[in-house]
């Protein structure tokens, strides 16, 4: 390329950089459409179920009296509800410390048949760290409870 004028080399470099950046942007946009995990509350999940096996997040309340441990000692079944719908959830692993019945949870996983299989549970860590979705969700639920008792 030594024969080309300096001005042209600058343009060529600029073009390469632009093509790469635009390419990165398009690739990102395409991948995000397929790979982003959408957030559901139980009533959404029941009304518009996602494809089987697609990674999603489910947020709701752990129903009282619903946590059951399987004989292997490390798999639990429980129900996540939002007052309108109930979704059975299965999780294998060590539960977070603040995972208790009657409290909020965000589960990361996928639908397998009618069961939500969770890879990971996010519960409230402490007052200062609350999963964002959960905070909104409990607000909404508080309102709902108020509305129902009226």
């Amino acid at each position: 390329m030594s024969g080309i004028k300096a001005k042209h080399q600058r343009l060529v470099l600029l073009a390469i950089a632009l093509v790469a950046l635009v390419g990165a942007g398009l690739l990102a946009a395409y991948a995000l459409r397929n790979q982003a995990a959408y957030f559901y509350v139980p009533s959404d999940l029941v009304a518009h179920p996602p494809e089987q096996g697609r990674a999603v997040r489910l947020g709701g309340m752990v129903e009282k009296g619903s946590i059951k441990t399987r004989p292997d000692g490390v798999t639990i079944d429980f129900i996540v509800g939002d007052g309108k719908a109930r979704v059975p959830v299965r999780f294998t692993g060590i539960t977070p410390d603040l995972f208790v019945e009657g409290s909020g949870v965000v589960a990361e996983g996928r639908m397998e048949g009618g069961t939500f299989v969770a890879d990971n549970l996010l519960a409230k860590h402490d007052e200062k760290y609350v999963p964002r979705e959960m905070k909104n969700m409990t607000d909404a639920q508080a309102k709902q409870v108020v509305a129902e008792t009226k």
Partner: protein
């Protein structure tokens, strides 16, 4: 008293920054040169004062002065010394004070020792540094005063989040911060050079050590942070693509690109406008990261208090600094003259490729991090995780790593591809062989881990090649630095790929006396006992583990309960061998009296962090080499000047 003194000193430092900016602006105007001499001393004084303010806050935390709001909210009299110290920066206000302290010290340091840069460019640089600092001083003094007193002293403090009470916290944030905020120097250099139209090799040579310094700290900070997350979170993962991790990765990617383009500018006077642009981008990424994690708009363990006012303040700062710098760049870029030409097969071309790919990865990470915010504005909540980040960034990382295998062998300006065909063919052969072996050893291995193992092995060989034919004793330190940093990339990549390809996990409910097999290990639960620490109590499992039937070793994972603030944390126990790590976590007791235990055998996983340390070590060697060369040159110049002086007499 100390709190008031600290606040007063902080205001004085801010006032000095105003003077530094004003003096710098006047000095750059015609007839203002007489003020140029005061900019350096102002910058040094500002650095000293802000460091003093920071020490005042450290003192308050060490004394646990509970009349200070920040101390009462984040510390506790019964905390061990090291966590009282770390508590200083384990909160929003303290960490912002650390931010301006590093900015002030960095500016003062440049003012004190930078001798190579043209004087007017240096004045503009220091004025730029003062301008950026001022925004953060305003933020600190107006909306996040760390020295605020309580009307009534608190009876005792709230304590520090248990998750943060770890020795890692004492070192990880300050290290990362030095790197993060140290990049402000690159930003100010870029602005200074644009203002005085002084973009050239001398400018790049002056900027390079500062970028290198910040980059070393950033590398160490990310490596330490990754290891900290790995052993404290108890999930066995070392990178989660959490917004905060991304916030530290993005400046690192930009700074890595900047380092490489700096070397092109310094050696060959090419990539002039591009280098300046990267200087702006690198620190902009630091600020974007701060905005993301501090404003509370993203979920993260690192988001302290969610406060919309603070979020808007940082957003305004972002708009002013990034917008301002980009405008300046837009106006002045055309006046930055075209650099030297080079051919498509040359060291420059390979470095351009490296830069474009690094920026591609940066874009991918940025888009993935911001996407949840974007969709939430339209009412859809999503989260973006490894299924997006891993494959998409690999599309850019793989070609970059392949070019990395031969780039350092190419000559500057113009080279013949034939000269590097042989080394490349050998590296490619190694890669193909390792790929096939991986497929045979672990049938059904995923594509990315297999490619990772293959590329890492080929790269390991190729990164040693620049030493071929050299006298090792006479090889300059910067060359050693490059070779070792590139080796570090290969080592870290091997660890990452090996972890995702070969890790075995075992989750089991065990009673005392039970044995489980995890990969080549046999782990027996010997007992569960209560233990106590200075401000926590815990249940501790005693495990005896045998590797392939060998002598047993003991592991003691704990589940800790903290009193103030109330909280729990799992304390994993690790055993490192040369070929991997055994990782154990104690869970809860089930209704039937069995204990949940989780184990991982992770072959070669420590190589990830060894690699990170190697990369940083490469940076240190390069920095030493550059500084030594400078000292030598200055000495020689001094001698010549001395001789002239004597002859003149």
């Amino acid at each position: 008293m100390i709190a008031e003194l600290g606040l007063a000193v902080l205001w004085m430092a801010a006032a000095l920054a105003v003077l530094q900016l004003a003096a710098g602006i006047i000095a750059l105007r015609p007839k203002g040169e007489h003020l140029a001499g005061v900019v350096r001393p102002l910058a040094v004084m500002q650095g000293v004062l802000v460091a003093f303010a920071f020490l005042a806050l450290v003192t308050l935390f060490l004394e646990t002065d509970l009349s200070v709001k920040l101390v009462a909210e984040n510390s506790h009299s019964a905390k061990p010394f090291i966590f009282k110290l770390a508590g200083t920066w384990g909160n929003h206000e303290g960490s912002m004070l650390l931010w301006v302290t590093i900015m002030g010290l960095a500016g003062g340091f440049v003012a004190l020792i930078e001798k190579r840069l043209r004087e007017d460019t240096l004045v503009a640089t220091l004025a730029g540094q003062a301008f950026v600092s001022l925004g953060f001083y305003a933020f600190l003094l107006l909306s996040s005063n760390p020295f605020e007193r309580l009307p009534e002293p608190a009876p005792d403090g709230n304590g520090l989040n248990p998750l943060l009470q770890d020795i890692g916290l004492a070192f990880h944030p300050p290290t990362l911060y030095v790197g993060y905020v140290g990049l402000s120097i690159a930003f100010s250099f870029a602005i200074g050079a644009l203002v005085t139209r002084d973009v050239g090799p001398a400018f790049a040579r002056a900027m390079r050590p500062w970028v290198l310094g910040a980059w070393i700290f950033l590398t160490l900070g990310i490596t330490a942070g990754s290891y900290w997350a790995y052993y404290t979170l108890g999930w066995g993962g070392w990178w989660f693509w959490d917004p905060v991790e991304n916030a530290s990765l993005m400046p690192w990617l930009a700074a890595t690109a900047l380092l490489h383009s700096c070397s092109v500018l310094a050696s060959r006077n090419a990539l002039r406008a591009w280098t300046v642009m990267l200087g702006v981008i690198a620190f902009s990424m630091s600020m974007v990261g701060t905005f993301l994690v501090r404003s509370g708009i993203l979920t993260s363990v690192h988001a302290f208090a969610v406060d919309p006012e603070r979020g808007s303040f940082i957003l305004a700062l972002l708009a002013i600094y990034i917008g301002g710098a980009l405008t300046l760049f837009g106006v002045r870029a055309a006046t930055v003259t075209e650099g030297a030409r080079f051919s498509f097969v040359s060291r420059e071309a390979s470095l351009v490729f490296n830069n474009v790919m690094l920026c591609g990865i940066l874009g991918i990470v940025l888009v993935g991090t911001l996407y949840p915010l974007l969709t939430e504005a339209f009412g859809t909540k999503v989260s973006v995780g490894p299924p997006y980040f891993n494959p998409v960034s690999a599309i850019f990382a793989i070609p970059m790593l392949l070019v990395l295998a031969v780039g350092p062998l190419l000559r500057w300006r113009n080279d013949k591809a034939g000269r590097v065909t042989m080394p490349f063919a050998i590296a490619a052969l190694i890669m193909a062989a390792v790929f096939l072996i991986a497929e045979m050893v672990a049938p059904g291995i995923h594509l990315l881990p297999a490619l990772g193992l293959a590329i890492a092995s080929g790269l390991f060989f190729a990164s040693l090649l620049p030493l071929k034919g050299r006298n090792l004793r006479r090889t300059p330190l910067p060359v050693w630095g490059m070779v070792i940093a590139h080796l570090g990339i290969a080592v870290a990549l091997f660890g990452m790929a090996s972890d995702s390809a070969f890790s075995t996990e075992k989750l089991a409910a065990m009673t005392v006396g039970d044995t489980q097999n995890v990969g080549p290990w046999q782990v027996k639960l010997e007992s569960i006992d209560p233990v106590a620490g200075p401000n926590w109590t815990a249940l501790q499992a005693t495990l005896s583990a045998r590797y392939a039937g060998g002598a047993p070793i003991t592991l003691e994972p704990q589940a800790r309960v903290f009193a103030s603030p109330p909280g729990t944390r799992t304390e994993s126990a690790l055993k490192t061998r040369w070929n991997g790590q055994l990782y154990s976590v104690l869970g809860e007791e089930g209704e039937d009296g069995r204990w949940q235990m989780r184990f991982w055998w992770k072959p070669f996983v420590p190589m990830i962090w060894y690699g990170g340390v190697l990369i940083a070590l490469g940076g240190v060697l390069a920095l030493l080499g550059r500084v030594a060369a400078d000292v030598k040159r200055l000495r020689a110049e001094g001698k010549i000047a001395y001789r002239r002086m004597r002859q003149g007499r």
